[in-house]
């Protein structure tokens, strides 16, 4: 799967300028994500500059390019929070899903992290192929005691959408997962924060995606284009402004892409007159486009959406009695930096 090419990336000084602009705009936190942020050779300098500018700095990484020296330098540079992604609880599962031998290295990273007093989040990407390993995942949490563990159900964009047939859990698996995580949350109270992101196809109401379009989050791509969310380029006719040409403030406040789904004027029924519109903002625009063909429509996962039946059909296929986990070896499309 293709990500942004290196020769179009912003240079170091551009990022440094952006951190100052971000703080002036009132932004509190920056997450270095990707792709793989550690692939940038100036990542330590970027962490340092962002922290000096006044931002809270998080690194969201697979941990694969990391060694002990680099981690020490990142912490010294002022890194506040380290989020490490996991594809499974065992080497075998991780290898099947990601087509890499990444798991043992990630366990080393967890050991190195214990030397430092920074925030640590373990992020398990959950789906049908690894939902059965929840107990082992929770054992890892018990052993490593991160400040937070996130069980993030795969969302169906990009890689997830391409592999959806193999990834959606059954209703039974999901119910069991919720039960286990509720218990774990109780046991870990005061020690590790537990966050569970449900697969929203099974939800009654949609997620307040990115805290509402153009309200809480802006994503600056490696090449300088600024997007309201990670998936926004699936929506046709979207033009994204670039920080090489305009200031962050100008883009945030005035760009067509950010303005497109702000406020409520763009909403269709039932969102337009729904009591929940200020709670979930009608759900996800990208998902509305991907499933219903219209980015302004009610997110089809909503039980009130006119297009909810499209989601029900997909769930029915997953929950057929004949379908069972690992019955058929799934064919995965792989992405770099799992």
């Amino acid at each position: 799967m293709e990500l942004v090419r290196r020769d179009r990336e912003l240079d170091t000084s551009s990022w440094l300028r952006l951190f100052d602009e971000a703080v002036k705009l009132g932004i509190l936190q920056v997450d270095f994500t990707g792709g793989e942020p550690l692939a940038r050779t100036d990542v330590v300098e970027l962490v340092h500059a962002a922290r000096q500018a006044g931002l809270y700095v998080s690194l969201i990484t697979s941990g694969l390019p990391l060694d002990e020296v680099k981690l020490a330098r990142l912490v010294e540079a002022g890194l506040d929070h380290f989020q490490l992604s996991f594809q499974g609880a065992t080497e075998q599962t991780a290898r099947e899903i990601s087509n890499t031998t990444s798991h043992p290295h990630k366990l080393h990273v967890l050991e190195w992290l214990k030397k430092y007093r920074i925030g640590v989040t373990l992020n398990f990407v959950i789906h049908r192929q690894n939902i059965g390993e929840l107990d082992e995942m929770l054992e890892m949490v018990e052993e490593h005691r991160p400040g937070c563990v996130e069980f993030a159900s795969v969302q169906y964009y990009g890689w997830g959408l391409a592999n959806r047939k193999a990834l959606l859990p059954t209703r039974e698996q999901l119910d069991e997962c919720v039960e286990k995580l509720k218990k774990a949350e109780e046991q870990l109270k005061g020690k590790t924060r537990v966050v569970f992101v449900v697969p929203d196809y099974y939800a009654k109401y949609p997620k307040p995606c990115v805290g509402g379009w153009g309200r809480k989050l802006m994503l600056v791509s490696p090449d300088g284009r600024v997007l309201p969310c990670h998936a926004a380029n699936v929506i046709p006719k979207m033009q994204f402004e670039n920080v090489k040409e305009k200031s962050l403030k100008e883009i945030w406040e005035n760009s067509a892409a950010f303005q497109k789904f702000r406020g409520e004027d763009w909403m269709q029924e039932p969102c337009k007159s729904c009591d929940r519109r200020s709670v979930d903002f009608g759900g996800c625009r990208c998902q509305a486009f991907l499933l219903a063909g219209d980015a302004a429509a009610t997110d089809p996962v909503c039980s009130l959406a006119p297009t909810r039946s499209k989601v029900d059909v997909i769930l029915a296929a997953v929950n057929q009695p004949e379908t069972s986990p690992r019955e058929v070896t799934p064919q995965f499309l792989y992405r770099p930096n799992p």
């Binding site: 509190l28 998080s58 929070h81 920074i118 925030g119 400040g147 937070c148």
Partner: protein, 91 residues
């Protein structure tokens, strides 16, 4: 879980205040932020691993002399319990 009066609360790993020069004063954590003012700011500033809960209560009693001390202590314990649950504070 409420802390003992002898506990010395401390900000959890990855949790810190924004810079003194930045307004509003905010408690920064992974993926969350808490705006602080008045008592909440005073409490968080004293969560340095050195002040006991009793000492924090006494400082608040002095700062808010017009309020009922027991009420202040109860509010303090409740607030520390909340911060602990959110993993903002260890004790």
């Amino acid at each position: 879980m409420k802390p003992d009066m002898t506990a010395t609360p401390r900000l959890a790993p990855g949790v810190r205040l924004n810079d003194k020069s930045q307004q509003p004063r905010t408690l920064l954590m992974p993926e969350r932020a808490l705006r602080l003012n008045g008592p909440s700011l005073e409490i968080v500033q004293l969560c340095d691993g050195k002040h006991t809960v009793l000492q924090i209560a006494e400082k608040l009693h002095a700062l808010y002399a017009k309020a009922e001390p027991q009420r202040i202590t109860d509010d303090l314990l409740g607030y520390l319990e909340l911060l602990h649950k959110e993993r903002a504070v260890d004790f």
